[in-house]
């Protein structure tokens, strides 16, 4: 059974006892789920994954795979397989040997059975032709496929991926992304996938765990993470171009920013009253695609200066300036306003995020702030 339960796990490296690499993280992964751990560099993603794999000792807490507590169990006995960022293929072995090596060591399958499994996996990954080459003679994408194949042949109950695509170029990365997704659809194996690329996380996962500085920030489906970020960190980390942020002060039903004001509706104000608890300093967050260009003089709009227009294929990114604060707007490709002019920007209250300045908690998200979610850094 491919469930993974992580309970109050904590990790401090012997070599560097000052830094808590992972701090009291708990979450569960369902059988067959594709869970992505995402976060900036050094946030503890790899550490978490490597504790599941058994490559690092667990300083505190428990990890269960299936029904079994695996703290202290040797990596090869955990029924997991891992794909590393730089693949970690054995350079002196052929692709075939790379894939069969683990089976030869840990199972008592006959040579024929092993070869059959290897060939099946190779077929699945489309690298049958490459089986007798050494990793050094393979392209990045082929190496990636072999590394994944090496994990597949083990038929583990959990796949672990540590930034498996980050060494590939953009196009290939995009391609391998769908390949991995299809693979997981086919095999249905529980997968834990680490990446620092929020786009990868958003597109591939059933659920996403966002970590920062060793702490779990939010866990949920891509939509939840995108639409209802629990705190400023999550809101900022996910989405490209990133969410626009403005410091505002709540004044009655008016959010007063630098160079603009925004009226909120009554229902929003109620919510604010309920959760803001007297706090009146917020960060207003609004995603670039939720901003539209309104007619000059329309109500509840903000005046902004258009600096740069970047076409990216189907869309245009507008780089705007609101009284010295920078603001990104994403508009369809047909909308091509002239640069160096003043425009009126509008956005819908539904897309508005309000984060308490004190602790970064999004007071409009989900059920409202809860004690469980840590504040953003």
């Amino acid at each position: 059974m491919g469930t993974v339960n992580i309970e109050n796990v904590r990790k401090v490296y012997d070599g560097d006892p000052e830094v808590v690499a992972v701090e009291d993280v708990s979450f569960d992964i369902a059988d067959g789920e594709f869970l992505t751990i995402v976060g900036p560099s050094g946030s503890g993603k790899s550490t978490l994954l490597r504790m599941i794999a058994g490559l690092e000792d667990i300083s505190d807490g428990t990890i269960r795979i299936g029904d079994r507590v695996v703290n202290g169990v040797q990596p090869q006995d955990r029924d997991v397989a891992m794909v590393f960022q730089n693949y970690a293929l054995y350079p002196h072995m052929t692709a075939r040997k790379n894939m069969s090596y683990g089976l030869e060591l840990t199972t008592d399958l006959s040579d024929e059975e092993i070869q059959q499994r290897v060939e099946e996996a190779a077929e699945m990954m489309g690298v049958t032709e490459q089986l007798d080459k050494r990793p050094g003679n393979l392209s990045g994408g082929q190496q990636q496929r072999i590394a994944t194949g090496r994990a597949i042949v083990r038929e583990p109950s959990v796949f672990l991926f540590d930034e498996p695509l980050s060494n590939l170029d953009a196009k290939l990365r995009l391609h391998m992304r769908t390949e991995l997704q299809q693979l997981q659809d086919k095999l249905g194996t529980t997968t834990v996938y680490v990446t620092h690329d929020q786009e990868e996380a958003m597109t591939m996962s059933d659920r996403i765990a966002v970590v920062n500085a060793g702490e779990l920030q939010q866990i949920g489906t891509p939509e939840e993470i995108y639409d209802e970020p629990r705190n400023l960190f999550v809101g900022d980390f996910v989405g490209s171009p990133p969410m626009n942020q403005f410091d505002v002060r709540l004044d009655g039903s008016t959010l007063v920013g630098n160079g603009f004001t925004y009226e909120v509706s009554d229902s929003t104000q109620e919510r604010l009253d309920q959760y803001a608890q007297g706090v009146d300093e917020f960060v207003l967050g609004i995603r670039p695609e939720n901003i539209t260009i309104a007619d000059d003089g329309a109500p509840n709009t903000i005046r902004a200066h258009l600096d740069v227009r970047e076409p990216i294929g189907s869309d245009n990114y507008l780089h705007m300036d609101i009284d010295g604060q920078e603001c990104w707007v994403r508009v369809p490709g047909e909308v091509k306003p002239e640069t160096n002019q003043e425009l009126s920007l509008a956005f819908d209250e539904d897309h508005l995020h309000l984060f308490r300045q004190s602790d970064g908690i999004n007071i409009l998200a989900g059920e409202g702030p809860s004690a469980e979610i840590p504040p953003a850094e």
Binding site: Q74, F84, Y90, H92, M93, G102, L105, T106
Partner: protein
């Protein structure tokens, strides 16, 4: 035009070394080849020469002293080279682990390498001495009449080889340590997930990954140890009972004591042939063993 300029530049930049190399290494070697095909009626005037063709070589292969020296050399190589390589490897793998005081260990292991052979001989003469030596003083508590390390025909080559290992193993150690440290840790992590630890990891990851340096070290040690000379020359003069005679020592005696330079040079070229043969075998056997 670009090409010509670069060619000229390339040659100019090579010239200083090539000049020195040609004059002080290639030319003497060529002269040596010439000498190996001649005899010298007047040993003190090497301008008088007499062409003898391959006679020096023919004589060499009929010379029992040559065979005895060859035997001694092979014995020395057979003991010292594996020991130098294996011990160097063991030391490197040990120090690579999580041990306290790596720097100190590294310094101690490498330090004998900086000694000159005369000092090594001096020191080990004291250590090996049968009745006054360090080893036998302590061994005397355990067994009666401890052996003469340099004076027993059965032990002498082994003793010289052991001393040589002490003297030179630090070089191999440093090279192996560096090679071991450049193996990416992730390979061992992958191996742990594959269930390969301990001996298996050593056999399947460490050794193949260090193959290049092993080839290099084996090669260098063969070349060096085949030319062993100073140890028997200083410490045993080839004795006892000629059991520590070696090829280069014999070459040296032929050239200097006997002033038979042509004969010595012939021996030198036989040695060159042997070394080239070993180099080829080495690269064939270890070099591409697992293609």
């Amino acid at each position: 035009m670009g090409l010509r300029k670069e060619t000229i530049e390339g040659i100019l930049w090579s010239l200083p070394y090539l000049a020195v190399f040609t004059v002080f290494l290639v030319w003497p070697a060529v002269k040596g080849l010439y000498m190996s095909l001649h005899t010298y009626p007047n040993k003190f005037d090497l301008t008088e020469t007499e062409w003898v063709g391959i006679q020096n070589y023919v004589e060499l292969f009929q010379d029992p002293v040559f065979y005895n020296a060859m035997e001694g050399t092979l014995l020395f190589v057979a003991v010292s080279v594996p020991a130098l390589v294996i011990l160097g490897l063991v030391m490197a793998l040990g120090v690579n682990r999580d041990v306290a005081g790596k720097r100190t260990l590294r310094a101690i292991y490498f330090s004998p390498y900086v000694l000159t052979v005369a000092v090594v001989a001096l020191v080990w003469g004291q250590v090996y001495s049968q009745s006054y030596g360090l080893i036998n003083y302590y061994l005397g508590f355990v067994i009666e009449n401890p052996p003469g390390w340099l004076t027993s025909p059965d032990l002498v080559m082994g003793s010289l080889a052991f001393m040589t290992v002490w003297w030179l193993v630090g070089f191999n150690f440093v090279i192996f340590l560096a090679a071991r440290q450049s193996i990416p840790e992730r390979l061992y992590e992958a191996a742990r997930l594959d269930g390969a630890t301990g001996w298996r990891a050593f056999r399947d990851i460490t050794l193949p990954q260090m193959r290049n340096s092993v080839v290099f070290v084996v090669m260098v040690q063969f070349i060096l140890q085949f030319q062993v000379f100073a140890q028997p020359y200083i410490m045993t003069q080839g004795g006892p009972s000629n059991s520590s005679d070696t090829l280069v020592y014999y070459l040296y005696r032929s050239a200097f004591s006997q002033q038979q330079f042509g004969y010595g040079a012939a021996m030198g070229y036989v040695l060159v042939a042997i070394l080239i043969l070993i180099a080829v075998i080495n690269f064939k056997v270890i070099g591409d063993s697992n293609v």
